[in-house]
């Protein structure tokens, strides 16, 4: 198989590239080791930055966020909830920092309006009584799953190819060019090669590993961030703590829940990206000054993502297009057709894709210009299930049969949605599995964390002939194990009682903990 451009990594940057290139008529193939948004793109805060957060530290990044935010509101309004945002300081916070904030916003050109603390508390009653300053900004919430899936759908509709569950293992290099990329299918173990004219490394935190496979040095360190999901939406707006960036200073609404984070912890390796008990405790202790109700809130789960930090101080600073992201042309290190695009933000993914695609097109001699800033991103019906609360809301238009079965009660997901998502998976060349369905819908994201809906979805897939053999048992085990990573650090109160039920059900009644031994001796 051959392709003009091979994109490594199925996060927002990779799928954004696939859409951008296919709109320019470039033939491209995206390979992703696990699934869409398996990296930072599926483990972030979902905040469409107004830029206000960066006005003091990095005004250039602030402007980039502001501009990209405006573009995304135009091209992908269906992925964005126009919540607005607040910056608030509480008694004890650095008052000088708070006082400087509006000036810094003005200098950077980021809209910001001062509010009286009582006015802010009237807007968001969860805010602490100890508020001393408040400003309104243009933050919004963005659904990274819907965004990525719609980008991918459009790319594949235009002939782009995607290989999920396919890992890049190495490169065939001849002289100054990569000839082919060596791949391995994660499910079957099968190996294959794809010849490519240009290779783009969009592997996020793993970009260093990919560069190393091509013998290229890439200075990178990592910062892990953990977040917590509440069982209900605490506030209508994004709430930022008005102080130099620190742990737990943002609460972002996402559909029917709120997300609190993030911590920031240096990592030496990517072997394990899980939220820890210590991080969660730190986040909660820091956040309750701003939102005291968090002390009594039930959490659904936690998760963690990794930010790549490219370059050691001073070393590769000149290569950064902005301090936000890194686009590296590895020609200097001896490979003419190999690029790396990493770092940045969800908010700026489109721009990252544009710059990387521009460079790739120059190398290919393609002159078509980028169109992603103008052409609206088409909303695909099959991708709408990622949105919290999408179930009830989309029934009328989806003409849900009056009696249709709900497979997931926490998130109100009907059987037809699961079937629709399985069809989308098939188009992406992926087998129907709880894991894939979970990334494309809210299945497993409610209070049961998959304990009940996982069983119901599997039963439905068997009835539909979409699973066979013991696949369903393996999928359920993997799914519950993956959800566990996020449950483990928040197990107290009601969440712990729910976990006990999950364990009684899956280990007690169904015996999944001794799955391999759960076949009786042959008669």
């Amino acid at each position: 198989m051959e392709t003009q451009v091979l994109i490594i990594g199925g996060g927002v940057t990779g799928v954004g590239l696939a859409r951008d290139l296919s709109l320019r008529g470039v033939d491209c193939t995206l390979v992703e080791r696990r699934d869409i948004n398996a990296g930072a793109s599926g483990a972030n805060h979902g905040l469409l930055h107004s830029g206000a957060r960066y006005v003091t530290r990095d005004p250039a990044a602030a402007v980039e966020c502001r501009d990209e935010g405006r573009i995304l509101r135009r091209i992908a309004p269906h992925c964005i909830e126009e919540t607005g945002g607040l910056f608030v300081a509480v008694a004890g916070d650095d008052e000088r920092y708070a006082a400087d904030f509006p000036g810094a916003c003005r200098r950077a050109g980021i809209p910001c309006r001062a509010l009286d603390p009582t006015e802010a508390r009237a807007l968001e009653p969860v805010l602490s009584e100890k508020l001393i300053a408040a400003y309104a900004v243009e933050d919004a919430a963005i659904d990274p799953f819907r965004l990525a899936l719609d980008n991918l759908s459009e790319a594949t509709a235009r002939g782009g190819r995607v290989l999920l569950s396919t890992r890049v293992e190495g490169f065939d290099i001849e002289g100054k060019r990569v000839r082919a990329v060596r791949l391995r299918d994660a499910a079957t173990g099968e190996r294959r090669r794809i010849a490519a004219e240009v290779v783009i490394n969009a592997a996020g935190a793993w970009a260093k590993e990919i560069a190393a496979l091509a013998g290229l040095p890439l200075a990178m360190t990592w910062s892990k961030g953990s977040l917590l999901i509440t069982d209900r939406r605490l506030a209508g707006r994004v709430i930022n703590r008005l102080r130099p960036a620190s742990d737990a200073d943002i609460l972002v609404p996402g559909g029917t829940v709120s997300i609190l984070g993030t911590s920031s912890e240096r990592l030496d390796s990517l072997a394990e990206i899980v939220p820890t008990v210590a991080e969660i405790d730190r986040i909660l202790e820091a956040a309750r000054d701003m939102v005291p109700a968090l002390e009594r809130t039930r959490f659904i789960r936690a998760y963690a993502g990794v930010r790549p930090l490219v370059g050691r101080a001073g070393e590769t600073g000149d290569r950064l297009l902005s301090r936000g992201f890194a686009l590296i042309d590895h020609a200097e290190e001896g490979l003419d057709n190999f690029l790396t695009i990493t770092g940045g933000k969800l908010t700026t993914y489109r721009r990252m894709a544009e710059k990387a695609a521009d460079l790739a097109c120059r190398k290919l001699g393609v002159r078509a210009a980028c169109r992603t800033a103008e052409l609206p991103l088409a909303p695909r019906p099959a991708n709408r299930w990622t949105e919290a609360g999408a179930g009830p809301r989309s029934w009328p238009e989806a003409s849900r049969a009056p009696q249709e079965l709900l497979l997931c009660e926490c998130e109100m997901i009907p059987a037809s949605a699961v079937v629709e998502v399985c069809e989308a998976l098939r188009l992406q060349g992926a087998r129907p599995s709880l894991y894939g369905i979970g990334r494309r819908s809210r299945v497993g994201k409610g209070t049961c964390q998959g304990a009940f809906c996982g069983v119901r979805v599997n039963a439905h897939l068997y009835d539909r002939q979409l699973l066979s053999g013991r696949e369903g048992i393996r999928d359920l085990r993997d799914f519950l194990e993956a959800r566990w990573r996020g449950m483990r650090p928040i197990l107290w109160g009601t969440a712990l009682a729910q976990e006990e039920l999950q364990e009684a059900l899956h280990c007690g009644l169904f015996g999944l903990d001794r799955e391999e031994a759960s076949c009786p001796p042959r008669p």
Partner: protein
């Protein structure tokens, strides 16, 4: 206004799970004036299988064909385990007695003897248990014989796919096949609820209609496997009647809860308690408990109009764990919710649970609970019994992981017996 008089009794049992109901039944049979107070809890999720011991040691995943041999090994390895502190003969007697009482109330059990049995589940897995409800027994014999069995599911019953069960169970049971039928009088395309199906099947008309719907499924089958929906208050009768109508053995398969098996177990227990003369104050929580100078206790419930309070000579605490509500975890500690008794638990929250959910050794927090003395009295702060007439039974006891060991109901019933034995001595 004078306060209404308290309800006087010898024994008050707090908690109406398997442990609490068993304790109340044993106490009443000993001749004690007994009251049980409990809100409805996890029992509604129960499968009605009575486990004794399936796995030990956990880390080795060693499965015991003979649970009594397993218990002997458990007693040697973990002398602090609640089941290690009760004589095996006493355990057997206790479970036999409860199983017989439930049988007399419509929920019959097969023999236990010295063997665990493998029951087919709604996931198509098999899980070992000791006492199997009579409505589930035919499946065990059919699998052992390698008989051709047809698994039947109903349109609209979520989480139960006959095809899925067959696909998953086939490595252990070759001659399985699947069929799907409409449940009689179900709204087309509508959702079915096991408890409602089960109640419907207590009527003769519904059974006749179901037998008719199942008739085509008999073709080529030596036994039929159905989701566990064959009745609530008279499952044995519903089962017998359907077998007679269809002319072949039927067996139930425990479903994803909430199913019919939990309400079935709960109602059979409630009937047994009524027959034994236990006063039942159900749907109520004990919100305050106080030791009296007289040596007894005063218990207060949520709703004073419903229950003015209880004055008991002795108390058995069977309030379960986190799901039942006997224990509650805060971010850094675990508390006992009625008396504030000391709880044994790992200090560091990071050590409450292992990194992998399915880690075979189980999670340390699941062994947390009340430390107790040889009479099953929970210990106070100083290592002495918290109160001479306060006893504990069931999953709230420390030092056991009933889920992973597969010993839930057995532990609940046996420790209820032990607590009543202890209380009997204390009240003598």
């Amino acid at each position: 206004m004078p306060a209404p008089p308290l309800i006087p009794c010898d024994v008050a049992v707090i908690g109406s799970g398997i442990a609490g109901m068993s304790a109340a039944w044993f106490a009443a049979r000993e001749g004690f004036a007994t009251v049980v107070v409990g809100r409805t809890g996890g029992i509604l999720f129960a499968s009605s299988l009575l486990d004794l011991l399936a796995v030990h040691p956990l880390a080795e995943r060693r499965l015991w064909e003979n649970p009594w041999e397993g218990l002997a090994r458990l007693a040697a390895d973990e002398p602090g385990h609640p089941l290690a502190r009760i004589a095996p003969a006493r355990i057997r007697e206790a479970i036999d007695a409860v199983a017989a009482a439930l049988g007399a109330c419509g929920l019959a059990y097969g023999d236990g003897g010295n063997r665990n049995r493998w029951v087919l589940t709604a996931l198509g897995t098999f899980r070992p248990t000791w006492r199997v409800p009579a409505t589930m027994e035919a499946g065990i014999a059919a699998r052992r014989a390698g008989a051709a069995a047809r698994i039947v599911s109903f349109h609209g019953l979520r989480g139960f796919s006959a095809r899925g069960i067959v696909e998953c169970a086939r490595p252990s049971w070759k001659a399985l096949s699947a069929a799907v039928v409409e449940f009689p009088r179900a709204a087309p395309g509508g959702e079915l609820f096991p408890e409602r199906m089960a109640r419907a099947l207590e009527t003769e008309a519904a059974r006749a209609a179901l037998a008719e719907a199942l008739t085509p499924c008999r073709q080529g089958a030596a036994a039929l496997g159905l989701p566990a929906v064959l009745g609530i208050s008279r499952p044995a009768e519903v089962h017998r009647d359907l077998e007679a109508r269809l002319g072949l053995p039927l067996f139930e398969i425990p479903t994803l809860p909430p199913g019919a098996t939990g309400p079935r177990l709960k109602e059979a227990f409630e009937r047994a308690l009524a027959q034994a003369g236990v006063r039942r104050i159900l749907g109520q929580s004990v919100v305050r408990a106080e030791a009296l100078a007289t040596g007894g206790f005063r218990l207060e419930t949520e709703n004073r109009d419903f229950c003015p309070g209880i004055e008991a000579r002795g108390v058995i605490l069977a309030t379960g764990r986190f799901l039942g509500g006997g224990l509650r975890a805060e971010r850094g500690r675990v508390v006992e919710t009625v008396f504030g008794l000391p709880v044994a638990f790992p200090e560091d929250r990071d050590r409450w649970h292992r990194r992998d959910f399915f880690d075979p050794s189980g999670h340390p927090l699941n062994r947390a609970g009340l430390p107790f003395d040889e009479a099953f009295r929970p210990l106070g702060g100083g290592g002495e019994p918290a109160h001479p007439r306060l006893f504990a039974a069931g999953s709230i006891l420390a030092g056991q992981d009933w889920v992973r060991s597969g010993c839930g109901s057995g532990l609940a019933i046996a420790t209820a017996r032990a607590a009543v034995d202890g209380l009997k001595k204390a009240l003598a």
